[in-house]
Amino acid sequence: MIKIENLYKIYETPSKEEQIALDNINLDIEEGECVLLRGHSGSGKSTLLSIIAGILKPSKGFIEVDGAKLSKVPDNFSTIFRRDHIGNIFQKYNLIPDLSVTDNVIAPLIPTDISYQKLIEQGTRAMKIANIYHKKDNLAKNLSGGEQQRCAIARAMVNDPKLILADEPSANLDPELTQQFIQEMHKLKELHKTIIIASHDDILFKSDLFTKVVFLDKGKIYDIN
């Protein structure tokens, strides 16, 4: 599903110094796997997730996601690829506060040629999976923290992606809501989705959700379990 070889991401600081965010990353992830990227803040896990999502381009190296060589394609292609094949769950959910739950969930597919009716059908299915359908007409800004997260999960599911990425999904959740999130991810795992979660949360680490844990530090993988 995901093949990463000799991948580097180097940033240039304002003082023209090079800062290595990812250093020679090599990683293979099979379809249906559930992977935890674990590391401290600044270890490079969010950068790696952004490169897998096609949001960032690597400085060097190779990355292939579901057959698409993201390290070599133009920005527009990776955007469309992300829209059609990847579901993103952001740390702060990043919902559009004045839009309803339904409108937030279907937002990724608005620029596509899918008919409005089909769009609503896909949105409904995603909202039901994420258990937020009963709030479909509520404005996102009026949702509780847990509801906002379920709305964000539904949005990530609306395009029925093979790959789901989540960056620090439990950073704003209490332990109870984190457990709920784990349950939601179990449901997606059962749907045979490939899931990659970047987190340093011990509750997630200790859960039975993951098939693989990748330990990162200073931009390098130092262990894979």
Binding site: I55, P97, I110, L119
Partner: protein, 394 residues
């Protein structure tokens, strides 16, 4: 354009309704101010130039010590001998000052015109009036413009009006006809009487006239004939139609200075609004753009939505401004603005604006407003859209 993107743009306008309403009304005010002024100026100019176009080619006045005097009618016969002239006639006209406490003691000047049958020495519209209502004039009654009539009614006159000659003699003239067909600002202040009555009111002695007008069929002869009249009567001022055009144009050129000032205010207001938008998108808008990019919208999709959203906003405000300006100027008669453009040493009764629009000027304003606004508003949106959206993943 994808209908779903259009829906998104529309919903976006309503979602940010407070901000957009402020922007809409700000634009509406500044664009309306400019367009109302354009409508007023152009309408006045058209009315004036239309009046001038049917005037005689040459007007001869007598000047003594730089002041205009009454002219001897005898001069008509000598001027008539000049080749190239089709007719020469005397005119009796002038201003009559009327002040009344019911008008808050603010005086108005009526234009008194002495008119006899077959007189085409003023302009076409007046010649038509002379022909149509000759019986009224022949009975010693007056034909009065609608606005002038409304003014004398405020001074308790209805069926007649009392004039006082320069010698203090009171002359009662019955109102024979109130007309609305002289659509110019001058016509609205006009009182038309027979030449005999006009002479009495204005104190013009027998054998004298206000001026003499000369009709010349061949326009290329005008300057030559002008020179001959000056040679014949060195104490005369000979005014051609072109001179009147130039004088009025000068007046409107001067008004253009006011226009320029207005345009600068408008540009400044527009600039402030745009600056407010371009100096930085709000955090919410930036985050929305980053989120949409992160979930798979192309830069192009975001520009399309934002272009549509802002195009609807600026276009509706400019079109509404045009409608409001039209109503203010041509239905409510351009209050305030008309006085700025039409100020004269002679105060005249009110007059009605006639719809005249210079389409190219209006299209120019629409184009400048819409293009400038969109260009400057879309730049920060584009800048925000091209930034790596990974920040929103955190």
């Amino acid at each position: 354009m994808n209908i779903k993107l259009l829906n998104y743009a529309l919903s976006s306008i309503f979602r940010k309704k407070t901000k957009n309403l402020i922007l809409f009304f700000g634009l509406l005010f500044s664009v309306s101010l400019l367009i109302s002024s354009l409508f007023t100026a152009f309408s006045l100019k058209t009315m004036v130039l239309k009046e001038i176009s049917s005037m005689p080619e040459i007007t001869v006045q007598k000047v003594l010590g730089g002041r205009t005097e009454l002219i001897e009618k005898d001069k008509i016969y000598e001027i008539q001998q000049i080749k190239g002239i089709s007719s020469v006639k005397e005119r009796v006209w002038g201003y009559y000052y009327f002040q009344h406490r019911r008008l808050n003691n603010e005086g108005v000047n009526f234009t008194i015109v002495g008119l006899d049958l077959y007189m085409d020495e003023y302009k076409d519209s007046l010649s038509n009036v002379a022909l149509k209502y000759y019986d009224v004039l022949n009975d010693g009654k007056m034909i009065i413009g609608k606005e002038a009539y409304d003014t004398i009614k405020k001074g308790y006159f209805e069926d007649f009006f009392h004039f006082y000659t320069p010698e203090g003699e009171k002359i009662k003239v019955d109102v024979g006809m109130v007309i609305d067909e002289l659509e110019s600002f001058e016509g609205s202040s006009m009182m038309i009487v027979s030449q005999e009555v006009a002479q009495k009111i204005l104190g013009v002695k027998d054998g004298y006239a206000t001026d003499i007008v000369v009709k010349i069929p061949n326009e290329t002869e005008i300057d030559n004939i002008k020179d001959q009249i000056i040679k014949l009567y060195p104490d005369s001022r000979v005014i051609t139609k072109d001179d009147i055009y130039s004088a009025y144009n000068g007046m409107f050129e001067f008004k253009n200075g006011f226009f320029l000032a207005l345009f600068l205010i408008y540009s400044f207001a527009l600039f402030l609004l745009i600056f407010e938008k371009s100096s930085g998108l709000g955090e919410l808008e930036k985050k929305e753009i980053a989120t949409l990019r992160a979930v798979g919208w192309k830069i192009n999709d975001i520009i399309k939505v934002k272009f549509t959203e802002h195009f609807i906003l600026i276009f509706t405000s400019v079109v509404s401004s045009i409608l409001i300006s039209y109503i203010v100027v041509f239905i409510f008669d351009a209050p305030i603005i008309k006085n700025i453009f039409y100020s004269s040493s002679e105060s005249l009764p009110p007059f009605t604006m006639v719809p005249n629009i210079e389409i190219l000027q209006i299209l120019g304003i629409i184009a400048v407003s819409v293009i400038l606004y969109l260009a400057l508003v879309l730049i920060p949106i584009w800048r925000s859209a091209i930034i790596d959206p990974s920040e929103s993943l955190k």
